[in-house]
Symmetry: D2
Subunit: 466 residues, 4 copies
């Protein structure tokens, strides 16, 4: 017995098709018209789109940071993701200084074990490239990990120097791996932060003012230059501003193997929001920018400069350290540099992008699918299992109501955090049913998933540069 | 009884799927695995791609020019097209000075009547925008014609001035039509040609030297400017050089509604070919450019600056006016300005682009489909009937052997012309079977089509800007 | 007996020198320290700059337009110019349709005869390039006229087509002449104006709205393209906006022989000023733009994209046709397209540029001299007689008080017009004495000049492209 | 008694004047026509230009490097400079690791003492920014040192990190100092060099291949970004390629306070010269590039992207370590990374730039003066004493014969080194007499100078950004 979705319109990255979809087991087995219904569960999708489940390639669940951890774990985070239409994600494993990559990977596998409710993969973050670590890198391919992350910011903590970046890129290029960078000039930021604090500038807004856009543009250009010399495919995470977008655009016009993502929050908020009394809620890195940058990002979605929209989901309690909560944003009271960096948005990505991207005509419904699912799947070695409503693919399917209206609120969201940065926004467009490998996780407001059902995604190397 | 294509890999603009395709009547009705075979003709496509038929949106069949006509008509041209994997095309109707649009359209319908073997549509070329013609334009929508063509070159003949271009764009924008332009500065070219002839420079190479790239760039920028002011969707035909590509690129980065195509010949030949004794063979407008421009065009395919590859197929006999042939290139002996402008390439587009685009890694197989079929279908109002292997779509299907090797030659091609500009080139990748609305037209070297079976394509307005 | 200027600081385009200047007759004969004073009139310039007289290369004195003429003639205009520090100008002769260049030149010589109080030269504006006119062009060199002006706007009146532009450039390039263009797309503007009037949009602001910046950018790019093909030095007059500045910038980065000027009014006012009840005062073409364009223009002065600041002085009475006044701006009541195009600014250029350019640090005092005097002299064939405080040069000298404060007002200005577009602006920096070829024209508020003393400037061809 | 230069043409950065120049003592006191000759030495300069002495702001005399020193000291180098028309230079003091700035400065003063024959100043190179060094920086102003140099290359030796660069820029900006950077990404280069050596690639050409242009472009962009954030005036030394020129160009178009120089050798040679058997002769950093880069540099001179042409003169014996010579280029036999970096060109700058810049029409004679003398004087706080033929300025004067022909050769040059990278080039244009502060140093082939006569140049802070 299968599940037959009828009367819906299939939405893929390029194609839109009015047809029925038959799921058997975990897989889509047939697409057609007037398929025989007997023996199947038939779901009517009149007026709905059927699209592949969202893939969020940039998340931080259960992430330890100084003095606390992010507040969503693999159980709560996965449920929230699925309610928002995301059925797969890739999280960042972080190497410990002095530790091996395998140790770090094992730690992260343990976080997911028994909790996972959607499918998940890992990127490997390198912070300490000792010779034995360099030699260990290729073994990650056997573990299903094909992408490496480097941070050019967070001086004295996660930041690597250009020599490490260069070496890592060389190794990655030789082994068909992808390098991802957080592009901000950490040296300059460290100086700006120290100076601000010396001058008694401690409010949250100084988080943004000490990380100017020009330093993101610089680091982006630098990463591209090293990728050019090493012939390494590069993926710049969470791009926020004109300075960095221009760098990417120029590089892509020269056919260099470079790609970029932005995150949903960078389309909406501005640095002024950090001036609010509750400004700490909006502290993330790179910081929220300006309305002008929003427009640049929308254009970059449209002209294909950017390939992916993700979230960088990394939630912390606004009022943490009480009622059994982990410490949170209150850690930075009186010192913006101690505010845990990150915002919750895992649940809201698709709804917001549909509302502000598709309904406004900025991007087509197909491009929506491409940015949220197909491109992530292709770039990160998950395609064709994920990223498409196609025969033979995993039956990760959203039944999407393009006109469903909701008001975003911390009262109703499923993320394990006491605020929502989009509080009060009315969206139009949301999933009404969500399938993961044929199993329905979401039915309207009802949760049907089960901890442990999510699977680890072993990814393929030599993925294409889009 | 249907036709079941098994063991092939479906190639669409974004998706690649190993699945079977069932055709019933003229339509694709099912895509799946292990579909029941009984009652169907089963065709094995092991090792082959199944892709949507090519759509060539820029052709000139049976085109009257000074002193002759193009040598392929709707019968010979259609057969050649199909052998090359093209199952639909859009030809240019040309208004007569003093005449109405309807008169011109009727003339072109008569050319196709009883001959057409593949599907065809019409663009309307305006050369004389009298008030009554301006008022006639919207009626073309009822005739299934949704795109208008203007020429900024051919001073004293087809060229329109900026006022005509502006007015036409206003009308088009109001009615959901698309404006296409041939972008070269005809005033300057007229002067350069006259000067060259005065100086006794009459060889074919002066055709190229009197049409410098900077004048194509200029006209492209001008058309974009008028499209910007009138908010009219613009499609620049046959772009050949860095000068014009940069104009398009800058415009698209500003989210202006502008698109562009190039033609297959502009990737390969250079102006030096016009210096050969048989240089007249390569005379077309805009002229063939330089190797540097080839690279710019390949990059523009890759970074999505260009949306379409077409042919501008417009063949003339090299040795015409004898043996019952129409006059041809020999008309320009001793005066390059009298060489009929145009080259044959309708049959070779897909093979060449696969060989030099896909096999070299410059573009992906999906992008190949997008450029040749999906984008043309979407931009010109044919989607979703054409442009995709999807349930419900017309069964225009190529069974494509990615490794079939052939040597291009006038000895073997099907175009009605005595030379081939790619003579001797070895290609790898060609169709082994071609279906049009479920009817097989090509089986290896064998022609199965029939004059009169091609249908006129009534196209939809308000097509998207890609 | 000479005139000895002591204790001042000489300001040239590159050099700043604390030294004395000795004038004998019409010429600067010595620069030194501790020069002998006996036998000379000694003028103390303590705290003052000595700089070469301003040269305004874009003026329209006594210009006939539809239904009236500009209100300053060679007498009133020259006095106003000198009070503002301008001691030479170049005016535009306008060919009549059907007439010869010589006829037009004679007409303009007659306007100046007996009235001229400062030195003046002529550009020749071509509107009707019949063959005999084309042949007549080189004879202009014998008349001391080395620059030709073409208008790409004013459809049906002054506008020329691209063929005329191309031919003129060819001739100019062969004879060491410079081509100047008014760059706006007149065809598109004609359509926009007609449409606005059809829709009852008759207020002055529609003058700006029917001449969008993109059409200036387009025409600028077109003129550059034709100059590129013809190898003709090009000078784009009155550039106002980012669209055209970008075109010029890109061309200059390719070492193309192209230059540009802006006019003083384009730094200050915006299209919003046309919405005022007296908006007609600010109507000129191209129109006043936006604050963003102001910044682009300042940057273009700084990065050397622009070479000259001029005025396009072309005054019309705001309340004309009464009290013996010529008709003026009131002609356009109820129909913006009938407002005479032009603003008065001949007297205010230097003061405003010093105040807003030099005092703000945007440009250096040397660059001020370069933009107002040295570059105009070099580009238009007047150097080294004009444009520099150097031994052997004409003694056209401003004694400039960098801290003199004045309030600009129609009450006090010397231009023959009843309003000032900068009314109420406080400037800091003005000439306190003005010499033309050794004769003092201005002494504080006092006029010392005499009609008939101004001389016609015979200019040299083959001037450099800066 | 003075010296009166008659019948020459004065060439300054903007002005060209046929006039006489009177020198009294060390100073130019008068410029005029028909100046009284009695009591003066009169020198006839018929057919000659009189221009300000060249200023070379980038030299390394007597520079200790690993295992040797540069072969010209303040005596030999100064004589060679003067023979080539350079009368002032600014050399780089290099801080020792662990040492103070004052110690380093004292060391360099000792090098010059008793030897200097032309005027000289110092830049301070910071390699070790301890807190006390940071505090010491402003004291350099009292020593007449106003510019700080940082190297982004030479990992493990002279290279500083971005934090040091940021801090230095902050201090410089606060105190009116200028920061100069050597812009190459030293981290990446270190990896490339190590890899090449591992692979047995030891020939000189690998010097160029391990320092690709993209790494110069990157570092230039990075320095500009930090200058933008710190509001520090920046001067990028020895720019060689399109990658870095584009960075500078974009920054200057945004009115950022950034400037750049190139060196004379970067216009002529290519990386292929390093493949010659004597390729070590041409090893300098950044390396010699390509013919395409030459063209970009010429354009950058013309469009004002670059402000200065210098030499980076740093000679080493080709066959050193014998005959009393210091070790030289032979140190790198079998290991390109041990070749002392640097080429001799101090004597040849002006002659080559005149020959290839002025005679070809690429730059005007005035621009020649501006690039070689006026801009260096202004940017580095020497103006108006140096950089101009003006009353009151130091009488540093070249009597320049624009048509003097010479063949460059190590046989005849005055630099203390056994080869010349321009060997055999015929130049046209050279000084026939050279004055430093009124004293004639060069008379044709004859040396009139005297060790100890050169003076230290105390420079002024807050120099302009050009």
């Amino acid at each position: 017995m299968g599940t037959l979705l009828v009367n819906g319109t299939i939405l893929n990255a390029a194609d839109t098709t009015a047809a029925e979809v038959l799921i058997e087991g975990e897989t889509i087995v047939q697409i057609g018209r007037n398929l025989p219904r007997e023996g199947h569960r038939v779901m009517d999708a009149t007026g709905k789109y059927l699209m592949p489940g969202g893939i969020d390639v940039h998340t931080h669940l259960d992430l330890p940071v100084t003095a606390t951890s992010s507040s969503d774990d693999y159980e709560t985070g996965h449920r929230a993701a699925a309610f928002g239409g995301t059925t797969s994600h890739i999280d960042f494993v972080i190497q410990s200084r002095g530790g091996s990559l395998k140790q770090a990977m094992d730690t992260w596998h343990a976080k997911a074990a028994g909790k996972a409710q959607i499918d998940y993969g890992f990127h490997m973050t390198i912070i300490d490239l000792r010779d034995e670590v360099a030699q260990e890198i290729p073994s990650m391919l056997d573990e299903g990990i094909t992408s490496l992350k480097l941070l050019m910011a967070y001086k004295g903590a996660l930041q690597v120097d250009d020599q490490t970046m260069f070496r890592t890129m060389k190794i990655a290029a030789e082994h068909g791996m992808l390098v991802m960078v957080h592009a901000e000039n950490g040296d300059a930021i460290a100086e700006l932060v120290a100076q601000a604090l010396r001058e008694g500038k401690t409010d949250p807004v100084y988080h943004a003012l000490t990380r100017p856009a020009v330093l993101e543009g610089e680091a982006t250009g630098r990463a591209i230059a090293l990728a050019t010399v090493t012939h390494c495919p590069l993926y710049v995470v969470h791009m926020t501003c004109e300075d960095s977008i221009r760098q990417l655009q120029r590089a892509r016009q020269q056919s260099l193997p470079v790609m970029g993502e932005t995150c949903i929050q960078y389309f909406f908020l501005t640095a002024d929001d950090l001036k609010r009394p509750d400004g700490a809620k909006f502290v993330c890195s790179p910081p929220i920018r300006t309305a002008k940058d929003h427009e640049v990002l929308w254009r970059a979605l449209r002209d294909q400069t950017l390939q992916v929209v993700s979230t960088d989901h990394c939630p912390f309690w606004y009022k943490g350290g009480v009622n059994g909560r982990l410490p949170g944003k209150e850690l930075g009271k009186g010192n913006f540099s101690k505010i845990p960096n990150g915002v919750p948005s895992l649940e809201d990505r698709l709804k917001l992008l549909w509302t502000h991207g598709v309904h406004t005509g900025r991007i087509s419904p197909n491009r929506f699918v491409e940015l949220n699912s197909t491109n992530p799947a292709k770039i990160f070695g998950l395609y064709p299992h994920k990223g498409s409503i196609s025969v033979g693919a995993d039956a990760d399917i959203l039944v999407w109501d393009p006109h469903k209206r909701e008001t975003i609120s911390a009262q109703t969201h499923h993320m394990n955090v006491d605020y929502n940065i989009f509080e009060g926004q009315v969206i139009e467009g949301a999933p009404v049913a969500v399938f993961l490998r044929g199993n329905q996780l979401v039915d309207g407001d009802q949760w049907l998933g089960k901890p442990g059902n999510g699977q680890f995604l072993r990814r393929a190397p030599n993925a294409p540069v889009l």
